[in-house]
């Protein structure tokens, strides 16, 4: 009997999570409140229950997050009885005297990397589990499942190891750490189908709701204290949902009537635009934008 492909993907992800717990001394799961990291938490429960998770959930809060996602994060951590560590980009800006993002959609993406690296050294994390997928962007297609980073969080092609069969080599030198991507082989649609099959709860902003938005280069951006409104901006109230959940300043909403995950899957099947292309404002700057951020220690 051929097994359903979601079972195969699930089994592989659980295997990777257990390898991480076994091979590293201080792993952490980077939790953003978005659907990919919610999927990771669900997989981690399957991997380690009835035991406790062998790692804390860590969130780097940019200060520009959606309140719904933050509330969801806090409720989830309490419901699971697991440790949640939150570190704030705002604090890094203050303590290190950094220049905050500027412009209409001031982004804290670059600053987020500082806070992440500080958090990694504060807790001496040797592995950070993340929900990145190889289908997200061309530069990710060659990313490893165990991706070795130097002390500066940088991805150096020379540190990367061939990954053969299911044998992951997590040995590192002092100061290095590993980013682990258990759902590398999943596509966006795979994640949605899994969320549906497993009936996993998501923050409300993933479903259609009313919101004040402005239209900018044919993308819908939520009105929030974090973006600069110009006199030419027209605020309209629209029915929208989010396809990814990042910062309010750089995540665009899509017009939608979807009330359930099945509706969302239906809508995605009809769109012809990628998740990043449709929802990320900052990626459109250049073809190589993602690649540069990755080199600099961004996830």
């Amino acid at each position: 009997m051929p097994r359903d492909y979601l079972d195969t993907l699930e089994s592989e992800a659980i295997y990777i999570l257990r390898e991480t717990a076994a091979q590293f001394e201080r792993p952490a799961l980077l939790f953003s409140g978005g659907k990919d990291s919610i999927t990771l938490v669900h997989l981690a429960l399957k991997a380690f229950r009835p035991g406790r998770l062998p790692f804390p959930l860590v969130h780097i809060d940019t200060g520009h997050n959606f309140p719904e996602a933050l509330a969801f994060r806090d409720r989830l951590a309490v419901a699971l009885g697991e440790q949640l560590i939150v570190r704030y980009v705002e604090d890094t800006i203050q303590s290190k005297n950094l220049q905050d993002g500027t412009g209409k959609f001031a982004s804290r993406n670059a600053l987020q990397t500082h806070t992440l690296l500080d958090t990694v050294s504060e807790f001496a994390f040797d592995a950070c589990i993340g929900g990145a997928r190889r289908d997200e962007e061309k530069a990710r297609a060659k990313e490893r499942i165990f991706s070795v980073r130097d002390e500066f969080g940088q991805w150096n092609p020379k540190l990367q190891r061939p990954e053969l069969w299911q044998l992951y080599n997590g040995r590192i030198h002092k100061g290095e750490n590993v980013r682990v991507f258990p759902i590398s082989n999943w596509t966006e649609l795979d994640v949605w189908r899994y969320l549906e099959r497993e009936q996993i709860a998501l923050p409300s902003i993933y479903f259609a709701h009313e919101r004040d938005v402005i239209e900018y280069e044919s993308q819908l951006i939520a009105v929030s204290p974090f973006i600069r409104l110009d006199p030419s901006d027209q605020i309209t109230r629209r029915r929208v949902r989010y396809r990814t959940v990042g910062d309010m300043t750089c995540t665009a909403a899509v017009a939608s009537e979807a009330a359930t995950i099945a509706d969302i899957i239906g809508e995605i099947a009809c769109t012809r635009i990628s998740e990043r292309g449709e929802t990320r404002i900052d990626d459109r700057v250049s073809e190589a934008a993602m690649e540069d951020r990755k080199k600099n220690g961004y996830f």
């Binding site: 492909y5 993907l9 257990r18 399957k46 061309k138 092609p157 061939p162 069969w165 990628s274």
Partner: protein, 417 residues
């Protein structure tokens, strides 16, 4: 819907990138914004289709140098299957890349340029496919448009390749004529080659049977992680978590724990919060056994009636992946499933030329991208299966303890072949 992992192999310019681009494009796996990006870059177009090779183009450094240096993974699906393509580009590091990409593949598509026929590179790719024992081989004769879609060109290549396939003892090979550029026999059957009556490449990929290969093998369960909540309510809970490498386990099975040799029975099988009666590869599960044993990561649980080999000296084919050469007497760390042990290289038996299959006995060193058969001694006894009989449970890697790099891919053997 199930999952098929395959790898594409071909010499430079045989049309590998175009083929992958075509599969993604015709299966509508490319989003419009990605298409627009490559349209902007495309200098040329055929049939109104942008240069599909650009879709699978990788990191910027490589783009600038015009070469590709690693394995990339691509995804697409049809209503019947999800597909993962390992795209292992050519050039200098080819053997290493191809072995890496092939290690997780169920199938290989070997591309041959219709104008050039079976080339030296074709031989090499086929030899690697035979070493890794890939269960399914498809030979796609590409650029048929450049030879007037002529049947005799295709037939000639089929005859030539059949000889090679016999020599290498490949599994039954499926042949098909294609034009990746024009889309002939990729998704839809070609109108230009009515003499070919077989399925298109995508139809073939959808129909290949994946059933039963690993479930039928002896059951193997490498213990990955021990779950011991040690709370009041779960005081006695002790579950052995791991992924079944091959075969099937059922509650009540008589099992042996290696290397200790202790015997017991399977008391329970759990997956998530569910209790299962049986579980098979590649499921990740938690096993419970009757009685109290000291079982930890690296131990192996197997049916008492089908034990693997337990020895300290073994032979292995090794594909060498490091710039530092492999020498007799070198020490490494062997990673075999969840088990690690120091090893020493006792002898380099022969170097296997991956272009000709020629053997050079007792070489004094093995360089990057070379394949050797070596004798190794492990610090602790290893409970293993031969790779030829059981892929999932016969493969290992070598780690250089000073650099931590993964330096060798091992296909384990018990005695000389």
């Amino acid at each position: 819907m199930d999952l098929l992992r395959f790898i594409t192999a071909g010499s430079v310019d045989d049309g590998k990138s175009t083929l992958i681009g075509r599969l993604l494009y015709d299966s509508k796996s490319i989003w419009e914004d990605q298409l627009e990006a490559i349209e902007r870059q495309s200098k040329r177009r055929d049939n109104g289709v942008p240069d599909l090779a650009l879709l699978t183009d990788g990191l910027r450094a490589e783009r600038e140098q015009g070469i590709t240096i690693d394995v990339a993974y691509r995804y697409f699906n049809t209503v019947r299957r999800k597909f993962i393509i390992a795209d292992a580009p050519g050039h200098i590091q080819y053997t290493r890349n191809m072995v890496t990409g092939a290690s997780n593949a169920d199938l290989i598509v070997i591309l041959i340029d219709a104008r050039h026929g079976v080339a030296e590179q074709t031989r090499r790719h086929s030899i690697i496919a035979s070493l890794l024992k890939l269960p399914h081989v498809i030979v796609a004769v590409n650029k048929m448009d450049l030879v007037g879609y002529a049947q005799d060109v295709f037939d000639g290549i089929v005859t030539a390749y059949s000889g090679l396939a016999r020599e290498l003892q490949l599994p039954p090979v499926t042949y098909l004529p294609i034009s990746a550029l024009q889309g002939d026999n990729i998704v839809k059957r070609s109108a230009h080659m009515s003499w070919y009556e077989g399925p298109s490449l995508l139809e073939l990929l959808e129909e290949v049977s994946l059933a039963g290969i690993s479930e039928a093998l002896p059951a193997r369960f490498p213990v990955q992680y021990v779950i011991r909540p040690q709370t009041e309510t779960l005081h006695d809970y002790r579950g052995y978590a791991g992924q079944i490498s091959s075969g099937t386990f059922s509650v009540g099975d008589h099992v042996t724990i290696l290397p200790s040799g202790a015997t017991t029975r399977i008391a329970r099988i759990e997956s998530g919060a569910q209790q299962l009666q049986t579980a098979c590869a590649p499921q990740s599960v938690v096993l419970h056994v009757e009685g109290e044993f000291d079982i930890s990561r690296g131990d192996l649980i197997v049916p008492s009636g089908a034990l693997p080999t337990l020895q300290q000296e073994l032979s292995s084919l090794i594909c060498w992946m490091d710039v530092k050469p492999l020498l007799k007497g070198n020490r490494y760390l062997l990673q075999y499933n969840t088990f690690r042990t120091p090893v020493v290289i006792k002898a380099l038996e022969y170097r296997l030329d991956v272009n000709s299959l020629d053997r050079e006995t007792t070489p004094d060193r093995i360089e990057l991208n070379e394949v050797v058969r070596a004798r190794i001694k492990t610090a602790m006894p290893l409970a293993f299966d031969r790779y030829t009989g059981n892929h999932a449970h016969g493969a290992a890697i070598l780690i250089d303890e000073s650099s931590n790099a993964t330096v060798g891919a091992l296909m384990l053997e018990t005695e000389a072949v």
